[in-house]
């Protein structure tokens, strides 16, 4: 009798131990490795880097710049974030960074209003918030680093389409990211405004479709465009996922001679399509520089060198031709104009 009740105890304790092991084993090793860098950095400041999601190579590219700046300035970067770009998943990471008492948060907001209360709470506790890529609501950040002059992109997109359509005439279509994506919608609006000018009167925008920054959906949408508009001359995709999908579809359909693809894309993604003539011209800003500038600004905010007020100026060595940046309306800083990539220069970029 005694023995069997002891056996039952063993079973209970054993079961509990297995349950712990399940959680414990999976936490142990990564936790140890995560703790290491912060210990090594010693006295430097800790910054939380919170991208929309951690599986997007765009944010990995930006992080290389963040890391570079942190190394130069003697700080530590903790990357946290969800593996899906969704606001409700991003909020707990903001509150946790606040609890951990980081000095600054560098964030690309999944939804500008959704993350605002949590960011304001962080700011209330003295944490500096730097937005980049996608802005939190005004008032929920100290400085927002805009990757590019938005109206400039609108003109660029129209210009590239004009250049690629023979004689600047014919049907063009837009393949965008999610229909809710604020950046893309703004660029598309500015592009449409530009298209109204006399120079572009030969171009006819026939459709705008959304691929949700998902490879499958973007491919389906691009195929749909080719089928639906047999006379299509240019597909403009102001998103790195969309432009790649569109270029692949056009190239695979062996229509590279009649249909061209342009927009915003990574040089590394687009090299083969520059070569095969599908996408002779496209653009993007330097994503690593965007990360670099964001960290430098976070550093300056923490050190009190700037406060984020409109009109403040500062210089960052190696960026903007060493000319000073000026903080504009709503505490926005603009990284610079978009690069134009074509066969003459695309091979010299690596991101």
């Amino acid at each position: 009798m005694k023995l069997s009740s002891a056996g039952r105890w063993v079973a209970i304790v054993g079961t509990a131990a297995i349950l712990f092991a399940a959680c414990g084993s999976s936490t142990a090793s990564p936790a140890a490795s995560a703790a290491a860098p912060s210990a090594a950095a010693g006295g430097g400041m800790t910054v939380g880097y919170l991208p929309k999601d951690i599986v997007n190579q765009y944010f990995a590219a930006a992080k290389t710049g963040v890391d570079k700046a942190a190394k130069e300035l003697g700080g530590t970067v903790t990357q946290v974030g969800p593996n899906e770009a969704k606001a409700d998943l991003q909020i707990p990471f903001i509150t946790d960074l606040t609890t951990q008492g980081v000095k600054a948060i560098i964030i690309s907001a999944d939804g500008k209003d959704e993350v605002a209360p949590a960011l304001k709470e962080a700011m209330g506790k003295g944490i500096k918030v730097v937005g980049f890529d996608s802005s939190p609501a005004v008032g929920a950040y100290d400085v927002f680093v805009n990757q590019v002059d938005f109206s400039g992109v609108g003109v660029n997109l129209a210009d590239w389409a004009c250049e690629l359509a023979p004689g600047c005439t014919g049907e063009i279509a837009i393949l965008s990211a999610a229909a809710t994506a604020t950046n893309q919608n703004e660029w598309i609006e500015l592009m449409k405004t530009t298209l109204k000018e006399d120079k572009y009167k030969g171009l006819k925008l026939v459709d705008t479709v959304y691929g949700d920054d998902d490879a499958t959906k973007s491919t389906t949408q691009a195929q749909g465009l080719l089928t639906k508009y047999p006379n299509l001359k240019v597909i403009v995709a102001p998103t790195t996922v969309g432009i790649l999908a569109a270029a692949q579809v056009v190239s695979q359909a062996k229509k590279s001679d009649s249909v061209k693809v342009s927009g915003l894309g990574f040089p590394n993604d687009m090299k083969p399509f520059v070569k095969d003539g599908t996408s002779p011209v496209f653009g993007l800003w330097s994503v690593p520089d965007l990360g670099y500038l964001s960290y430098v600004i976070a550093d300056k905010l923490v050190k009190g060198e700037i406060t984020g007020k409109e009109g403040e100026t500062f210089t960052v060595k190696g960026l903007n031709g060493d000319k000073p940046y000026t903080i504009g309306k709503d505490s926005v800083v603009i990284l610079g104009p978009a690069f134009r990539f074509d066969s003459t220069n695309v091979e010299s970029f690596d991101f």
């Binding site: 190579q57 990995a60 490879a215 389906t220 639906k228 999908a245 692949q248 083969p272």
Partner: protein
């Protein structure tokens, strides 16, 4: 008079039965009529090019749907297929990028990974006796988690793949896309396996009546284990096709694909309570959903409608099946009472 009514009802029931039996033909008929309507609004719909594009894309879903159908016929379900597709797609693409294996070796590796993941599901369900929905909901998180762990933010670009690898998705034999031929081959081999082998008949037996199957001495657990393993292999095959089709692969490939796969199986007339259904039905179900998505784009209906229409199609398919089944039962009891 009453006699005549009963007779007409009986005729109606026979008609229902005929529909129920010929699900594949019914779907093809709906596609034919629907296609005619769509092509009136968008003439491009009827082009050979459009057909082969849609069929190629639908082939990926169809191949997994065949595996899912085998599992559902045994009265199970596999919610983890999308994670298997994603994990295999990334592993294969990355291996090719690193040139660790030649394309044939990478394809073999992809199928092997699919098989192993399917066997893990089979083990948890058949040996540990965890209910299928719980087990595969769990492995959905686990497999996807592994995919994220190995992939991180890395993305294998099209240029990283060996030249010609993605051409397979566009290649055709006598005008028929290779992917479609592959799907047909999978369906034919799978159907022969289910219809003509003892093991195949055991799959149906386990699904239609597990107790009776046990009494008859059918090794149900082995049958279930093999069903999930097969599903894993086919999901692995779909993962390889995914790489060929899309070229650029990261850790999120195929996220959310399970819904369309199960929808294809259900629309294809496989009984979700197990025991009946054909693999051809599942594949045609996938084609059917592919054409709906294509038609929506061409007709210019906002893609926001797609989800709702998928949902409606699932509900109509299962409710219709049930009505037919009840009609048949009623007819049977009536003719039996005479």
């Amino acid at each position: 008079m009453a006699e005549a009514v009963a007779a007409s009802r009986l005729a109606g029931a026979r008609w229902l039965m005929a529909i129920g039996r010929q699900r594949e033909l019914t779907l093809l008929a709906i596609m034919f009529v629907g296609g005619a309507l769509v092509s009136m609004m968008a003439p491009q719909f009827l082009s050979v090019e459009n057909f082969s594009q849609v069929a190629t894309l639908a082939s990926i879903t169809a191949v997994v749907a065949v595996g899912e159908a085998i599992v559902i016929i045994t009265r199970g379900i596999d919610l983890s297929v999308e994670a298997i597709i994603g994990l295999v797609a990334y592993s294969v693409a990355r291996t090719l990028e690193l040139q660790a294996l030649d394309p044939v070796g990478a394809i073999a590796m992809g199928l092997a990974i699919g098989l192993i993941l399917g066997m893990i599901n089979g083990f948890i369900i058949a040996v540990l006796k965890v209910p299928a929905i719980v087990a595969t909901l769990g492995t959905l998180s686990i497999f996807r988690g592994f995919d994220y762990v190995i992939a991180g933010p890395d993305q294998v670009p099209l240029a990283g793949l060996p030249p010609g690898f993605t051409d397979i998705s566009r290649a055709d034999v006598l005008g028929i896309p290779v992917f479609v031929l592959l799907t047909v081959a999978v369906v034919v081999v799978g159907s022969l396996f289910l219809r003509s082998t003892r093991f195949g008949r055991q799959v149906y037996a386990v699904g239609s009546n597990p107790e009776a199957a046990a009494i008859l001495g059918i090794p149900s657990r082995l049958v279930i284990f093999v069903a999930y393993s097969l599903c894993g292999v086919l999901a692995g095959l779909a993962g390889i096709m995914w790489v060929m089709q899309f070229g650029t692969i990261n850790g999120t490939a195929a996220t959310g694909a399970t819904l369309a796969i199960i929808a294809a199986v259900v629309v294809g007339g496989v009984n979700t309570l197990g025991g009946s259904g054909t693999l051809a039905g599942a594949a045609i179900g996938a084609l059917f959903l592919g054409f709906i998505a294509n038609a929506l784009i061409l007709v210019g209906l906002s893609q926001f409608w797609l989800q709702a229409i998928y949902g409606l199609v699932i509900l109509i398919a299962i409710a219709g099946d049930q009505l037919i089944r009840r009609g048949v039962q009623r007819a049977n009891t009536r003719s039996g009472s005479r």
